[in-house]
Symmetry: C2
């Protein structure tokens, strides 16, 4: 059963528990999903309105893109949970002899590269989704402008939660070139995404004054 089929109450309860998933990574994907859902909602409240007829094609495109990103983020809730399994198994391996230590370290490194992949994907999709809201500030119904604001708040949160989960894995990865490249690429994307979100949030908040 996909985690997306769980009730919201069960998702919260399982997160609350000591079960390995959902944790911060699954929450990041869910919060990102909520941010894309709000983009879809703004589109659906805009489509067909005379006042926004000039944007009809854009709104249809943004609707499709938001739906695709929402589906991808939903799938990443499960992916993040599955990707943690190899790492959790490695923790249990023996490390009494040098040979055992070597094997454990090798398996650990492989498992870390699996575990880090979902939060990286979550960050990238959330970043793309922020740009949908950037369009919606102008093209979306002004009646739903607070939802554009809530959307970018959720997507910024998804990027930041993803980033913490990237960082916790990077900390144990020994491939220095991979670590440096990943850290540089994602921290730059995060900074840009955060700035975009703050700009959009401030524009929305000003419209509500």
């Amino acid at each position: 059963m996909s985690i997306a089929e769980w009730s919201c109450g069960k998702f919260l309860d399982e997160t609350f528990s000591k079960a390995p998933a959902p944790g911060g990574g699954g929450v990041a994907a869910m919060v990102g999903g909520l941010g894309t859902a709000l983009a879809g909602m703004v589109c659906n409240l805009t489509a067909g309105k005379k006042k926004y007829a000039a944007y009809e094609a854009d709104i249809a495109r943004i609707t499709d893109e938001a739906r695709k990103m929402m589906d991808e983020l939903t799938a990443l809730i499960d992916k993040d949970a599955e990707n943690f399994v190899p790492l959790s198994k490695v923790y249990g391996l023996p490390a009494n002899t040098d040979e055992e230590k070597k094997i454990k370290q090798e398996k650990m490194q492989a498992a870390l590269l699996v575990a880090i992949s979902a939060p990286i994907e979550i960050m990238k999709i959330a970043y793309k989704a922020i740009k949908l809201h950037e369009e919606l500030v102008e093209k979306g119904s002004t009646l739903a402008v607070s939802d554009v604001g809530c959307g970018v708040i959720c997507l910024k949160a998804a990027m930041e939660c993803g980033w913490l989960n990237v960082k916790i894995n990077l900390k144990s990865i020994t491939d220095a070139a991979y670590v440096e490249k990943t850290r540089a690429e994602l921290s730059a994307m995060l900074a840009d995404g955060e700035k975009l979100c703050d700009d959009i949030y401030n524009r929305v908040a000003a419209k509500l004054d």
Copy 2:
């Protein structure tokens, strides 16, 4: 049926749609719920560990408080949806004569005070929940420190989404004394909550470097 009984997929789909709920308010409550769930998770990963025995009573108290707040936020998903009903009905009232306009305006004002109450509550509970994470940075298992970070990110997002939904209602409320008092009280609480979250996030991020 309570919205918390919906599957996560349905929650996302209904948000995506043009249905009046869940919207930004329901999303705020859900994201806040995820932030309290992560506080509970950190507690559950800390309880019973020798290294944190000194904090056992604190962790038990924080667990109970996080659970209570999570339940309150979950209930607020429904409450926010219900509270929008009177306002949506007022929009449909006629306003052709002065008498109709007067009645519509009076009912509108009453409905706005109902609609604003859930996002105010969400902000207040999220603010209290941030303080649980403030304790958990020190008292929670260091293995779960990224989840403390994700927790405050979610709670900051819940406060900010709540605030946009407060603002959109305040904009139409004509009772100037109420507007001024509410704006002053909540904007101060928001600023304090955001600062707390940023401090905690930075402490967590530094621990992951």
